[in-house]
Amino acid sequence: MTNVLFLILIPLIFAFISLLINQKLQKYFVIFGVLLVVLASIDIYYHQLLFSFVFNEYIHSIIKILDVILLFFFLYRGFIEKNKLVSIFASIQIVIFSIILLLPTTNNSYDLIIDNIAMTMFLVINIVGGIIIIYSLEYIKTENFSNFKKNSFISLLFLFLGVMNLLVSANSLEIFFFCFELTTLFSYLLIRYRLDNTAKENALRALWMNQIGGVAILVSLLMAILLYDTIFIDKILNIGDDLFLLIVALLALAAFVKGASNPFQSWLLGAMVAPTPVSAILHSATMVKIAPYLILKIAPAFSPFLSLSITLFGAFVFMVASLMALNKDFFKEILGLSTIALLGLMISVAAIQSHKAVEVCLMLIVFHAISKALLFMQAGILEKQFHLKNLSDINHLISHSKLLVFFILVGFASLTLPPFGAFFGKFFSIELFISLINENVLYIFPLVCILFGTVFLTILYFKVATKLLTKLNDTYETTKILPLYKYTSFALVFLLICGLILNFDFESLGIFEVSLPIALILFFGLFWYFSRFIKANIIKEYNCGEKDEFENSAFYIELKPIILDAIKYISIGLLVIMIVGSMI
């Protein structure tokens, strides 16, 4: 019990401390704080303590007051920045929320429920998020801001962890809504951190898009109170057959908004203007992971129709987002689109209501978080130490820093190849869809989408990876990666290796098949490290005698505007079908 409150409160306390303390001491305090939350989350997971908890009335009132303040703050921002959409959505939310405040509610369930899903999410949020916070200590040091602003960056990241911890344990929709809006607020503040024009613009876009999710949650909350007199997720799930499905469908819509699924993807791509640790924490451990988490949570209430349509929607997003990424040149944008894609995959798996689907989805969530954090951290290093942002500028990186190439390759390989967890997640989800075809042949459409998504992502990652490898035979200078960057990256690689053990839990693959790629990777690693071709003579490239001066050549698949429009309309259409279908 205390552990969970600990997880929620410790980040808040450390956020406060890191705001005030001076730079030198801050480092040790932050590392100490991260260690505390990491240990607490491991402790909860280790003891598997399932429990539930009720807040007393005062806390309920405080949360309601904070909610109102938050909504008025959004309205105020919309007014100041003269952004109509922000003000409109904020006012809609204020109206609905005041209706909800007027309605009497009965407290017939628990405010917080910690189940297995929440425990796994704690691990992801605190360990991966914590490592990113330590990394951002180094990153933010070289930025050109006042000390207070640098401190506030760290404390915002800590607050993010605390709020996410509360969000994943929330059972009451009211508290869930509160956390949802808080993450919207934090992402808004972090995206506009640099305070230039694009940053402000993108932050506002993130704000209004995320508020759509807020509106959706409020509407479903209102309906839940009016129709079933409850504000608790577990009660809604237990209503059974006569459940009005629109409630769940709207919650799913809120999840898609947070997960930046296709019609809403522009807010997450706009978040690139923020300092890189923000992208790292948004993409891996926090914010966007709300999407698969929420779907996992509400999946037991889905009707077959809703389940199929969400699965199809997620698979479609997986395919198109990875296709769009093939055309991008900005390294962070490529990573961002691939996040959107993989979130689509997680959503589509989560929407299948089977025990195995939950397991596969959690696996994807965990390993995607680790790999994405690793990759975004490398993007930050590329930016800070090598001054590289675009794919077309990254050439023969391996001649300058082998370690960085190693990290990036591990990041990509861990998302696509055996023996890493994310690969097995994808593998099992493909298997899952194939086995579903026998029950309902329509599942072939999500299957085909997922196959394409998988292949697109593979060729995307290795297109990027190939840019790094071209080795020069001339002399060159090497750059050393700063220690804090290096250790945090190694920590994530270590987590990936720890994750290999998890793969042995699955029955459908034998021990031989799982351990084979591990053996291969070990063998290749040793071979790579020890092999020296002393007897061979090193020569220049033959290249058919041609002396073309060229830099590395990668392909880009350009999509015509009409196709992009079509993608947008199809995904909006799928959403409309989902919502209309759930009303009937």
Partner: protein, 274 residues
């Protein structure tokens, strides 16, 4: 026992098929052609050559490609999870792509790029074929797939889709843009020489075994049918190779993908409903 033996001699069987293929192709063009053992003569000669390398990574990736491909064939022979085999095969292809990019040679890069794009063409189809087997058998286990037969009746369209991707993997015209000797001088192969080229050469032979074993799977437990199928595919592929001209890589992807996808999806609908 016989499986272990076959696993060990797999590259050499592949070499024999390759030699035979050169003879057959020559006869189709009314030439006499090289002796069947010509690939092995090439091999001995390559080993004797003085070793030259461009850089270490290039060579290491080439060797890794060879080893993983051999393991893939091993998994096909000993019987594993078919879907998994397809993915490990992808793993091996990734190595050759990385190898192509690790030198600063334009032909090598173009070859790698095309190899990468051709994954897009055949990978979804291979997985759909695997799912076809799953829908009939309820299992991806190759040993289970080998126990029953009549796959040709139940998945004829998937077999046609398979025929489409055979030339892509074997680098046969019209789908040989990844290698295209006259155009990009062998693509990825161009910077290898001597004994190191030998690894790539043998990897190519193993690719033959991989593809023909997949074709063999369609026969199920009927070994004679399997041999007949392989022979038909062998002759057909070489006939088409002699009779057609190369298509561009983007056309390759479009043709193979669209036709293959439509065929396989139709077939899967058929399996579920019929």
């Amino acid at each position: 026992m016989i499986e272990i033996l076959f696993f060990l001699i797999a590259p050499f069987v592949g070499g024999l098929i390759y030699g035979l293929e050169r003879v057959v192709r020559a006869r189709m063009q009314r030439r006499i052609g090289p002796p069947i053992l010509q690939p092995f003569y090439d091999m001995f000669k390559l080993i004797q050559k003085e070793p030259f390398i461009v850089n270490q990574y290039h060579i290491i990736f080439g060797i890794f490609h060879f080893i993983t491909l051999w393991i893939v064939v091993g998994m096909l022979i000993f019987g594993g999870n078919l879907l998994y085999v397809v993915f490990i095969h992808l793993f091996s292809t990734i190595f050759i792509i990385l190898a192509g990019y690790s030198t600063k040679s334009i032909y090598s890069h173009i070859g790698s790029n095309r190899e990468l794009l051709s994954i897009l063409a055949y990978e979804p189809i291979l997985i759909l074929i695997a799912s076809g087997f799953y829908l009939i058998n309820g299992s991806f286990e190759i040993s289970a797939i080998r126990e029953s037969s009549h796959y040709l009746q139940t998945m004829p369209l998937l077999f046609l889709a398979m025929l489409l991707i055979v030339p892509i993997k074997l680098k046969k015209s019209p789908f040989d843009a990844t290698e295209a000797h006259q155009e990009i001088v062998g693509g990825v192969e161009v910077e290898y020489s001597g004994v190191f080229f030998e690894f790539l050469y043998m990897a190519k032979w193993i690719e033959y075994i991989f593809i023909y074993m997949l074709v063999f799977l369609f026969a199920g437990d009927n070994i004679i049918l399997g041999i007949v199928l392989c022979l038909i595919v062998f002759i057909l592929v070489n006939l088409v190779d002699n009779a057609t001209a190369r298509v561009k890589i983007n056309h390759l992807v479009k043709i193979a993908l669209i036709i293959g996808l439509v065929l396989s999806v139709l077939n899967i609908f058929g399996i579920v409903y019929v």
